[in-house]
């Protein structure tokens, strides 16, 4: 039975299970077609909302108030960039740069600090190491709400409440548990011989970390970097509490317009779209990296 199966799975299948005859194959085909149709409809469900945002952002106020964005496809001539130019003229660019000024340092700092800690957890001996690492794991699920009030107090005391550094540090602290966890697990997988060879040569620990281990971790660092970047870029709550108007990123600037959603669509739609361009570009340029990487992983 086994050998037969291995060599001629088709025949074995039909012999063992007579119901897989012509009829069932026809049904399979039809079913396959149906699945395609269902998936196309589902894909539309996922695409249309974002497409709607884009089209609304490209239409004038009067058009948006009188007809649905989907009429755009029958009258494409109504497209205009007025909403975007108005938005940029209204000072939205400064919140764009605030977003950048928060996201870039928060990402770099998390990678650097977590890589050092992860290295220590993976390759150094010190008392209480395992217990400390369990603490890191425990902190993974701590909701940021817990820190809003105490850190607001602390920032008031330090005089950094409302400023970009305060927002950055908060992001770094709450990004660390995951980052340490991820990088430590990666470092543990690096062949021991590599490190031992370097240590035998008498290289300083810092040098081993910077020239041997960290460069090896590029894939892990890259993925961590992308996700930390997206997380900080997309944050609203931390900015809401810790960034004042001068330091506010795009999410907070847009949120302040939500109250009059109906009349502010001409600001909100282009603003939301601008805020998601960079994440989407990142996502599409690295999609292989995470989606296919995930698929590749499943072979194991």
């Amino acid at each position: 039975m086994t050998t037969l199966t291995a060599s001629q799975p088709g025949t074995a299948g039909s012999a063992g299970a007579p119901r897989r005859g012509v009829l069932s194959r026809v049904l399979d085909k039809a079913g396959g077609g149906l699945v395609q149709v269902v998936l196309i409809v589902l894909a539309l469900f996922w695409l249309l909302p974002t497409l709607g945002l884009l089209v609304v952002s490209l239409r004038g106020d009067t058009d948006n108030n009188s007809s649905g964005w989907w009429t755009f496809f029958t009258k494409p001539a109504q497209m205009t960039f007025d909403n975007y130019s108005n938005l940029l003229a209204s000072g939205f660019t400064s919140s764009f740069w605030n977003t950048v000024a928060i996201t870039v340092p928060a990402t770099i700092l998390v990678i650097g600090i977590a890589a050092m800690a992860g290295y220590a957890f993976a390759w150094m001996e010190f008392p209480g190491r395992d217990a400390l690492f369990l603490v890191v794991i425990a902190l993974l699920v701590v909701p940021i709400q817990i820190a809003l009030i105490p850190i607001a107090k602390m920032y008031g005391f330090l005089g950094i409440f409302g400023s970009i550094p305060g927002v950055v540090l908060f992001h770094v602290a709450f990004g660390l548990p995951f980052a340490i966890f991820l990088l430590r697990n990666f470092f543990v997988g690096i062949p021991k011989e590599l490190l031992e060879a370097a240590r035998m040569d008498g290289a300083a620990e810092w040098k081993i970390f910077a020239t041997v281990v960290f460069p090896l971790a590029k894939p892990a660092v890259a993925s961590l970097g992308i996700f930390q970047f997206l997380w900080v870029w997309n944050d609203l709550l931390i900015a809401l509490v810790f960034a004042d108007t001068n330091a506010q990123p795009m999410t907070k600037a847009l949120q302040s317009q939500m109250r009059q959603f109906g009349t502010n669509v001409d600001i909100l739609a282009p603003g939301a779209f601008l805020s998601l361009i960079i994440p989407l570009v990142l996502f599409f340029s690295f999609q292989r990296y995470f989606v296919q990487g995930l698929m590749a992983g499943s072979v194991k």
Binding site: V35, G68, Q145, I149, F181, E205, M258, F261, L276, A296
Partner: protein
């Protein structure tokens, strides 16, 4: 059996590995596996160390103890370790651990922090009707959202399994994870707009509705309210005052609406051509600006098209017809006799304008819809990875033994997949407990009390005008307590894996 296992099947993901850009499949695997879960940030442990997902298990060496404990003889002095750990420990200590302690203490004091109130803030959470609503909403979230996301992710993963454009589909569904929840909120505010000419959800619903039920209503249209008017209102319907016979045109003049509100197809009204033996008549807007004779069809007066007209005799509807563009109607094949002509109430109701998504009743389900839109891709990608890790031969063996596809799915796929499903479910539960942005952005200000959740209430109470940091701290602690079981699960899982 053994032969079959060693058979020539190629793992389905084989070519994907080859296409991977990173140096070695091992690294690719491990990083990416974990990383996809990151937007959930805190929740990733759940996936990360589960060991349930094969791609996630690659991090640890086969025998971790042997390898990572063994470097002691060559490793640096603990002092060096302190140097490497210091920045992380300081940040975690001051920004995460200290606030937990501070919040516990602060939650025992009043709004200003001056007076010790014991557990009063906690009592307030469970007695105030506003916070009870938030707890109820969180409960709805936890019951509905994670299971729906997981179920949908499973369905998507299964459906895409044999589809050639699966990657494209996955990209599309996964994409919202890259977008901020604020932007997703704006997107769904647009989707859920009440006006079917603005919100795509109601546009779809009203057009589907209109396929099955005519929506050409004339709200407000009515006969004149005097004794000369040939028709009057009876229980919402418009009926003729006198019984009508065949060959004697029925006039039903209506007022109460603006000529501009007529459908564009409406033509100038005219009396129905007399046909012997047929009951006929005209429904029209009996209004000429600045003149015209009441109850008579004047030059420019327009007919009301698509009005449902019933011929009633002895309380029963004998025939139904609709008016033409000029407002005329006639019943064919109606037995001789005298009838009352009735325009049923359905002609005068407001046209169906869709569902009030953002109203107080539907707001939470509507926001959960947006949540599912954001997270289904995450569930799908993880479950798809789990699916392709299921050994083909186990499925084949069952099929050869005569199991139906459904039996294979139920008794083999699902059990083998259950660790992954659990990981997705737990991640989503933690996420729904902390849900904030979507509720804050999608719920309009007036319905936020009905849509409120704990995380939002915590912000509102402490920063968004509430000014009560005692209650805010208590809510934050409450939230922390809710995620504690998952913290324990994570730690236990990690220890088991290391053992």
């Amino acid at each position: 059996m053994t032969e079959r296992l060693d058979g020539p099947q190629t793992p389905r993901g084989g070519d994907d590995v080859a296409r991977g850009a990173s140096p070695g499949p091992d690294e690719t695997t491990e990083t990416k596996g974990e990383v996809t879960t990151h937007p959930a940030l805190d929740d990733d442990v759940a996936t990360g160390e589960s060991g349930a997902l094969p791609q996630l298990a690659t991090g640890g060496p086969a025998s971790p103890k042997a390898r990572y404990g063994g470097s002691g003889n060559l490793g640096p002095a603990p002092k060096v370790a302190v140097f490497f750990l210091l920045p992380a420990v300081v940040l975690l200590g001051a920004w995460v651990v200290y606030p937990i302690v501070y919040s516990i203490i602060r939650s025992l004091y009043d709004a200003n922090g001056g007076t010790f109130v014991g557990a009063d803030n906690y009592a307030a959470i469970f007695s105030d009707s506003g916070t009870l609503t938030t707890i109820r909403n969180n409960l709805i979230w936890v019951v509905l959202a994670p299971s729906l996301v997981t179920a949908l992710g499973l369905i998507f993963a299964v459906l895409t399994e044999r589809i050639r454009w699966a990657t494209a589909f996955k990209l599309v569904v996964f994409m919202p994870m890259a977008v901020s929840l604020l932007a997703s909120g704006v997107i769904f505010r647009l989707v859920y707009e009440q006006d079917p000419d603005k919100g795509v959800a109601n546009a779809v619903i009203t057009s589907v509705h209109d396929l099955f039920a005519s929506s050409s209503g004339y709200p407000g249209a009515r006969p004149r309210e005097n004794d000369q008017a040939p028709a009057l209102v009876d229980k919402g319907a418009v009926v003729t005052r006198q019984a009508a016979q065949a060959g004697q045109p029925v006039l039903i003049p209506l007022v109460g609406m603006k000529p501009e509100a007529l459908p564009s197809g409406a033509a100038a009204a005219r009396s129905a051509p007399e046909a012997p033996g047929e009951l006929s008549g005209t429904v029209w807007l009996d209004f000429t600006p600045g003149g015209g004779t009441a109850n008579k069809i004047d030059g420019n007066e327009k007919g009301l098209p698509e009005v449902t007209v019933e011929a009633v005799s002895g309380g029963a509807v004998k025939a139904t017809t609709t008016t033409a563009a000029d407002g005329s109607f006639h019943f064919t094949g109606l037995p001789q006799g005298s009838y009352q002509v009735r325009l049923p109430q359905s002609n005068f109701t407001q046209p169906f304008s869709g569902v009030t998504w953002l109203g107080p009743t539907l707001i939470t389900p509507a926001i959960i819809g947006a949540f599912i839109w954001v997270w289904a891709g995450f569930a799908m990608v993880l479950i798809a990875a789990g699916l392709s890790a299921i050994p083909r031969d186990a499925l084949e063996a069952a099929r050869i033994d005569g199991a139906t596809e459904w039996q294979v799915f139920r008794s083999i796929t699902i059990p083998l997949l259950s660790p992954v499903l659990l990981v997705v479910l737990v991640t989503m539960i933690i996420n729904t407990l902390k849900v904030f942005d979507l509720v804050f952005v999608i719920a309009p200000g007036s319905v936020q009390p009905q849509a409120n959740v704990i995380a939002l209430e915590m912000w509102r109470v402490s920063f968004g005008g509430g000014g009560n940091q005692g209650l805010g701290s208590a809510l934050a602690i409450f939230l922390l307590v809710l995620v504690l079981p998952f913290m324990a699960i994570n730690i236990r899982r990690f220890r088991r894996e290391q053992a």
